[in-house]
Amino acid sequence: MTSVSSSSEFHHQHHFKSAEHQYASSKQGIWLFLCTEILMFGGLFVGYLIYHSLYPTVFKNGSETLDWKMGAVNTVVLLVSSFTMAAAINYVQRGLHKIAAIMLALTIACAGAFMVIKYFEYSHKFHVGTVPGKFSLVDPSCAAGGKRAECESKISALLKNPAELEKNHVSAEEVARLKAVISQPKWEMFYGFYFVMTGLHGVHVVAGAFLIFWVFIKTLRRKVGPEYYTPVEGVGLFWHVVDLVWIYLFPLLYLVG
């Protein structure tokens, strides 16, 4: 193999034999890191499966109150972003910096779009009160004190008030679903998982967007190119994992009843 380290722009670090050597090492490091990310989400998935089997009705009713259309749109957004990211890596490798930068910018735009949609989903839940524990309209402390019915009346009062409902864009159909949820004991459990899982995933989306921005700058400054593209590829792999996690989260939370 001809050595690519002869390129004028790029010198590998002193403790590696060659650029290929450095590239192979970096790649192994990135893959190991991605394993730890998957394992971390794995813990949450295990917890989800356990509670899903403990409270099947809660999880079924809970998932019906999520807006699967928004989730589906977000899935498409992320799939597109994975595509643009892969394209960006390819263009960087071929030295087409301009179009690579455009692809990276599009990926960041997708990340932004994803978060905006997520924001609408979250804020709707805050309006109707299907939020985890402390912030839910059913106060967990009074639930514990055996005054559950009384506490629930707060949220059902909201559901009975048409003016309030209209203000919060709640349809009759949704009212029925919400009622089905809060009639179940421990319904907060589902939203606990929903918020922790999508929240942690959201943090990864934001972190990913920052990382992509970092390689975007590198691309503009031509610090990466055909002879050296490890950061772009690494960030790309990270982004694919973020995408992959969503591909599992979406059916698990929105579709599985």
Partner: protein, 537 residues
């Protein structure tokens, strides 16, 4: 002193990693694994003193039965929590890998540095950040949960300081993951020519297995700690029974990390011991492969035994029996190592410098710790011993008798390489005698106390436990004194030690083939390896 003599012997030593750059800034921004290792040393040693302060406080309080003016119950619980959390997350887990491992791993492989030097420095600062976040809970909102953060107490009942401590531990876990990742890639990719996987020193095998555990187990701790944070801030209720959660799930998650974590503590220690035993027996290690693979075996089995912490947590009988049996299996690879070390010493030319004394101390104390572990792994006996001082004695024998003995031995062994100077052997031996005796005086009575039924984590005890508790307290001061002597010996060595030769112990691994202290890039010319690591006779 024969400094003139050593000068001529090592013409190239005047330029080394210690004087490669000067000023505090050159240390704080260094990418040199050797300097980063030493920075970990300074940090961990400081944290150890703080953790030790809490330990002596607890022990002093327990010297007298009944309430004492020293600690009220609340403060006692906080002392115990900080003692445990500091010692586990900030001393024993990072101790050997991040300090000794960082220093020796690349040199033993014949590499110029670890694979990702910048990441290495970053993980040091992440560790510092984590330690500071955790320490801030001492100031703002003290924690009294014990280092295990058991739910629902930690999530539903006690102060919000838990969030800080947990966040600190999370951050330090991140640092641990990055160090492990760095070591794995370094071992795979940066070995010198001829350094095949079956020629790497046993220290490397140990660090390699440790790194695998760090990568596979720490993410589970991370998510568990995040969930505690989420419960306290959002009340998500995954562990809180009032909200439908399951506190036993927390225990599963916690021990799925924390049991393997005890091997993050002990495997590197075993690696150090393997190095010490051959070097001071002047004999090729007996059963290189068996020791190497047993490290990997221990790492693998460590993931399957977490349930032995939950025999009395309402886990099914079948699960208890299965976990009990699997736990016993850990004894096999451990015993393999022990027997191989003994066979190595057999008919070797054994000398008893300070590092070797610590190695023998390790073998003695760790054996007691390990054997009492078998008691605890037997479901029936554990019902009696669970959460008594028997457990306290057991884990101190394993963690302190094991890991700290190895750490001390490792420090005295590699000290000449680190600083190019010798420590006073007498100082090292006095330190050993004090720590070793003090240790047994402190913790052996605790086995008896536990068997008599004295529960752990209690602020007070029955009058019949008084004598043994007092003996234990006296012992704790001996240990403290021993570490003080050790510290003085080390500082004296750094300031006034005699000049060391390149290979004062006559050891065979690669780090002894370069100058003491090594140059910035470890070797002036990359070594080529043609034989196994312990080519004595």
């Amino acid at each position: 002193m024969s400094s003139a003599h050593t000068k001529t012997e090592h013409g190239h030593t005047d330029h080394n990693y210690l004087n490669h750059g000067s000023g505090i800034w050159s240390w704080m921004t260094t990418l040199d694994h050797k300097r980063i290792g030493l920075m970990y040393f300074a940090t961990v040693a400081t944290l150890f003193l703080i953790g030790g302060f809490f330990a002596l406080g607890i022990r002093l309080h327990l010297a007298k039965f009944g309430t004492t003016p020293l600690l009220d119950p609340d403060t006692y619980n906080k002392f115990m929590t900080f003692h445990g959390a500091i010692m586990v997350f900030m001393v024993i887990i990072p101790g050997i890998p991040a300090f000794l491992g960082n220093f020796v791993l690349p040199i033993q492989l014949g590499a110029k540095d670890v694979a990702f030097p910048r990441l290495n420095l970053a993980s040091y600062y992440i560790f510092i950040a984590g330690a500071l976040i955790a320490a801030s809970s001492m100031i703002f909102n003290q924690v009294d949960t014990g280092w295990t953060f058991y739910t629902p107490y930690s999530t539903a009942k006690t102060s919000n300081g838990v969030i800080l401590l947990v966040l600190g531990a999370f951050t330090m876990g991140f640092s641990s993951i990055l160090t492990g990742l760095n070591f794995i890639v370094t071992t795979h990719k940066l070995r010198a020519p001829g350094m095949t996987m079956d020629r790497i020193p046993l220290m490397i095998w140990a660090l390699y297995s440790t790194s695998i555990i760090q990568i596979l187990a720490t993410p589970i701790l991370a998510i568990t700690l995040l969930l505690i944070g989420a419960e306290k801030t959002l009340g998500v209720g995954i562990f809180d029974p009032d909200l439908g959660g399951d506190p036993v799930l927390f225990q599963h998650f916690f021990w799925f990390y924390s049991h393997p974590a005890v091997y993050i503590m002990i495997l590197p220690a075993m690696g150090v011991i393997s190095e010490l035993i051959t070097a001071f027996s002047k004999k090729t290690i007996f059963g290189y492969r068996a020791i190497a693979y047993s490290s990997v075996a221990i790492a693998a089995v460590s993931f399957l035994v977490w349930g032995h912490h939950m025999f009395v947590s309402g886990q099914s009988t079948i699960a208890g029996i299965v976990f009990s049996i699997i736990t016993m299996f850990v004894g096999v690879p451990t015993a393999i190592k022990l027997f191989n070390w003994i066979s190595t010493m057999y008919r070797g030319t054994v000398t008893f410098e300070a590092p070797m004394l610590f190695a023998l101390g390790f073998m003695f104390l760790f054996t007691i710790g390990g054997l009492t572990g078998v008691f605890l792994a037997s479901t029936g006996m554990d019902v009696h011993f669970h959460d008594t001082y028997f457990v306290v004695a057991h884990f101190h024998y394993v963690m302190v008798g094991g890991t700290l003995m190895a750490l001390m031995g490792g420090i005295f062994y590699w000290f000449p390489k680190m600083f190019g100077k010798m420590t006073s052997d007498l100082g090292g031996r006095i330190s050993w005698v004090l720590i070793f005796t003090g240790f047994n005086v402190t913790f052996f009575p605790q086995f008896v106390l536990g068997a008599m039924g004295m529960p752990r984590r209690y602020f007070d005890y029955l009058p019949e436990y008084t004598n043994l508790n007092q003996i234990s307290t006296v012992g704790s001061w001996l240990i403290g004194l021993g570490f003080l002597v050790g510290l003085i010996t080390i500082i004296h060595g750094i300031l006034k030690g005699e000049k060391a030769t390149d290979n004062p112990w006559g050891a065979k691994t690669l780090e002894w083939q370069t100058s003491s202290p090594p140059p910035h890039e470890n070797f002036t010319t990359t070594p080529t390896v043609t034989a196994g690591p312990y080519d004595f006779r």
